[in-house]
Amino acid sequence: MSVLAALRPDSWDFPLLLHVLGAAILVGALLTAGAAQLVGWRESAPAAALTWARITFFALLAIAIPAWILMRVAGQWIASEEGFEGENVPTWVEIGYVTADPGGGLILIATVLAGFGLRRLRARGRATSGLSRAAGAVTLILLLAYLVTVWAMTTKPS
């Protein structure tokens, strides 16, 4: 399979580049969003909570969502180039669909949670936000799912 990957047609290179780029940026954004909540977990100052909530929200909104769109659209482009449709979908591509599509929904949910969390922190001057922390937890779970996907995409188990 690895040799087949090395011998793929040149026309697949560009969508593959976009797909890998989107996936790598997405992983970076999720890590940024989730890690901000982990790093700030034990801080009790309202200004600190605001900083971490801001990082989580903007990493999701400005980086993760565009990266997810790039990864998903380019992934579909390659899938159609390779003829992976209907019954002809290998297991490793199915793993990709299973994590990518619900993952997109979860990223949206985490973004909304992080947005409301940030708004509440700004309005009430609290030192913690359960909503921001929930958003951070969702992103870390997603990160684990995407690591499994990276394994499936590179090793192509069938």
Binding site: L17, A24, I25, L31, A35, I63, V150
Partner: protein, 159 residues
């Protein structure tokens, strides 16, 4: 699963760690431009330590596993043009990172110094250090080199 598959997975994972670090650093550099207080700057730089760990582990992983892959796979040789290009890009990226570290570590140390003194008022000096034009340009150059690296890995020119 073959050894090649595992090496490829770990090599890609290491590359993802490097991209993740660049995302963290870019975020810190851009968010830092709006930071006025030393305590906020200290907090932001504390966060960037995640990027330090990711970039160090990722860079070593990419290099070691990449060399191992090239040795393990019959279709690739270490002296292939695209692999030599990858070594050059790796070295350029590492040097850019070293220079970036110098600029932002100085800003971090200054922010810590001010915060430790209890001087948490907006500091024009610290602001100028964090908003370093050279730092921003080096970060943009790092992103360009990383993109070139990705293009090299996917297109494998000459392979």
């Amino acid at each position: 699963m073959s050894l090649y598959d595992w090496l490829l997975f770990l090599h890609v994972l290491a590359a993802f760690a490097v991209v993740a670090a660049v995302v963290v650093f870019t975020y810190v550099i851009l968010a830092g431009r709006a930071v006025a207080l030393p305590s906020d700057a200290v907090r932001l730089f504390r966060f960037s330590r995640i990027g330090d760990v990711l970039v160090n582990v990722g860079m070593v992983g990419v290099l070691v596993l990449g060399i191992w892959l090239a040795i393990d796979a019959d279709e690739y040789q270490l002296w292939d043009g695209w692999i030599i290009a990858a070594f050059v890009l790796w070295a350029v990226f590492a040097e850019l990172g070293r220079r970036l570290g110098k600029i932002y570590n100085a800003a971090r140390d200054r922010a810590r110094e001010l915060a430790a003194r209890g001087d948490d008022a907006a500091s024009p000096e610290l602001r100028a250090m964090i908003r370093s034009r050279a730092g921003l340009l080096l970060q943009i150059a790092s992103i360009v080199v990383l993109l070139a690296f990705l293009v090299d890995m996917i297109y494998k020119p000459g392979a």
